[in-house]
Symmetry: C2
Subunit: 497 residues, 2 copies
Amino acid sequence: MCFLINFLILPIKQEECKIKEEINIFVSIQLSKKDKEPLYVQLYDQLLTMIHTGRLGSGCKLPPVRKLARYLSINPGTIVNAYKELEKNGFIFSSAGSGSYVSSQTLRQHSAADYEFATDNIYMDEVLKPQKNSQAVNMSSISLNPDVISVEQLKKIFIEVLDRDQGRAFSYQDSQGFLPLRESIAANLRSINIHTSAKNLQIISGAQQGIDIVARALLKHGDYVFTESPTYPGAIASFLANGAKIIDIPLEQDGLDMNVLEKNLQQFHPKLIYLMPVLQNPSGCSYSLAKRDKIIKLAQKHNVIILEDDYISELSYRTKLLAPLKSIDRHDNVIYLKSLSKIFMPGLRLGFLTMPEYLAAKLLNVKYITDISTSGFTQRIFDLYLREGYWEKHIKDIRRIYKTQFEFAYKTARQYFPCDVTWHNPEGGLSFWLKLPERFKSKEFCRKAKENNLLITDGTNFYPQHMDTRHIRISFATLSLQEIETGMRILGAMFTK
Amino acid sequence: MCFLINFLILPIKQEECKIKEEINIFVSIQLSKKDKEPLYVQLYDQLLTMIHTGRLGSGCKLPPVRKLARYLSINPGTIVNAYKELEKNGFIFSSAGSGSYVSSQTLRQHSAADYEFATDNIYMDEVLKPQKNSQAVNMSSISLNPDVISVEQLKKIFIEVLDRDQGRAFSYQDSQGFLPLRESIAANLRSINIHTSAKNLQIISGAQQGIDIVARALLKHGDYVFTESPTYPGAIASFLANGAKIIDIPLEQDGLDMNVLEKNLQQFHPKLIYLMPVLQNPSGCSYSLAKRDKIIKLAQKHNVIILEDDYISELSYRTKLLAPLKSIDRHDNVIYLKSLSKIFMPGLRLGFLTMPEYLAAKLLNVKYITDISTSGFTQRIFDLYLREGYWEKHIKDIRRIYKTQFEFAYKTARQYFPCDVTWHNPEGGLSFWLKLPERFKSKEFCRKAKENNLLITDGTNFYPQHMDTRHIRISFATLSLQEIETGMRILGAMFTK
């Protein structure tokens, strides 16, 4: 029998699962030295499948390294490596002198019960896998393919910054951010009709931090926040952690349902509306001009702040770049938040937001409490990247590359999907948001896809109430054209089964 | 008349100060082309003095650039640069088409009224100055001199990481941190008798983030936190922002006053005790072995978590390295928090903490909400730095360099200070904590020091209740021996006046 371990409150009670400890259940493991994957990755994948499918439940003890090595006739080092990867990614944990155990679902999901959200963490789905798993086509990740980054360019920039600033490049940075970078960004924003200045920009360590800082600065326990439905799960997590009540407003193809928005504005007086008006995540839809105007007017009328999260507007392929809401915001109701993670390098942890003057001190103070400042070194790197024109070129390059991916993905999706799979045809981005035919449930569908070596994202997590079970997100961000075709074919077959 | 501008709630009401706008008050400005400081820095300093002394109050309008340039017979570009620096550092703000104004005290202090703390921000004192101000001896900063960092070594490491990991160096990192780095750190910790493993380490973006993550994960509104008195103001800010009530326990030369601690433990049942047992900031004191043992026992008895902040234990010069509290913690009551900002490079924003297994999910979840993860690139850099032995060498180097500084500072202090200035003679560190003779008040004393071109830190901010007005902190972290002597001489003269 397996016992669910509570990691949150009590020290761990290690309960061995006697039945499952029997080595026999590992008979299904098939490792091949001819496979191009290293043995430990093969073992990792197969153990992970056993965990996911429940054959290895929470709290179960894994066989000792030497015992399993003998049973599988492989080197104990291989087992150690596979266990290490599983441990790194939170699927198992080890206890000195006692062995390795399957983690509880709670730990794996990175969610804490007292934050009252039980969402699967989409982001974790993207990263909690070994980096090489060529068996599966990964339509879950919406990060750029790391190969689009020119490492040689970056080396040049690093050396330039170090030669120029020496040890000072690593000194404390003021909380608001490196002034020359804020100036570069302000200059850059003019091209999308946002007129601001360095003093109204706050540098942040990625969009998640920006959302959380705004939430901490603005929200008190019990305050209402409006979001789109569906929306970004990291934002839901932050709003709930900050004690807010979320009201999610249905999203239509051209933006929020305005009737529902107006009715709710009158009734609930939210402090904050969190929107992604251009190439929304996950739906891909962009707001019509009429709805943008209307929303700005409503924000002013109801004295509410809009947090506009622009995570990917540069990747609009069909029309010219879509202007952000901030560009028509004449009364400073909009905080424009820009992540550089999705269109540049997530590993830098960099982004920025515009601060209305009347909120500057509050936001700055929360930023200070959170981490004093974003890395000054990273800021210097990105500043030079912008100033030397690499950024502009990078954006052109990724638009070109992903336009091809996007069109190919669209074509193959139409080719393989039956007509009862519906999806909004986006203007750009890195993913499609599919509505499944009625006979499917998204969670079960994703599980089956995994069995077919296809990773896709369950849409349920994008809804604050987790009530929708009919959507999935599929992405082509890290895939070759061939992999896109494979993925679409697998999905097509699943739809028509 | 000047009006205090409320930046926190209302949009700015720009109220001009007609009297002070008169150009005449700028007659005191004296700029010299022969001075080795650029003209704009001279102008910056003199305007700043006018702001600090109240001659330019909150909300006052500064003269238009051209008008002041004509008046002072200098290039308008010089005025623009000085205004820019003032704006960057929050002392003034500009409003399109209307001119530049002196910011309110509130904005300058980076403190928000609804966090109910009105501390001067020590950190900001350190960074809110132009980086070159050779007129003043800076005994306020406790960051290492940037020149102790070997830039050539770092270049080598950057290139090695990029060649090895390519674009992947900038991919998403899992929230807990880069596994090889956690392994390197775990191995390193053994040398100070902390036995942990990669799975129990959480990588963080500096100690401030670590404190804030622990506070968010553990504290509910109204919970009690115990701190030392005096303690680190960034921790006070975070605990208050998280709704906690702080009880500060007096610090004796060998650690907390144990009678007061025990009495308060019985009465208030705190969730958390925040301590710096080795070379405490700001007092420099280290806990005796007896008090360490006793505190560990009390933590276990009262079921309270200790957050041990080790910010500088490596810089113990007189005895061998002092072991952290964590090394005698047998029941996982201690979270050991290590900043790399003070002994390495603040600009990297890097640190780590040990996670008791029963808190792992909670802490990880808050880390995710806060910023998803610390930069994976930075983590890879530091991992290699550790693995290739540079870290060990760096620590040896800075111990050698700062031992000399420390001994010289101690000697000159004894030489120049009268005997009614008392201070605890620390085992190491980068600063001294002085008790002023009764006739002085610390705030006023610091202001006067500034007038004498000496920057020192007012001790009041280190007390949660801001009741102490008799302490100052003086540091030699960024100074040459000559500057140390100058600083001590200025202080000596001030004491004996």
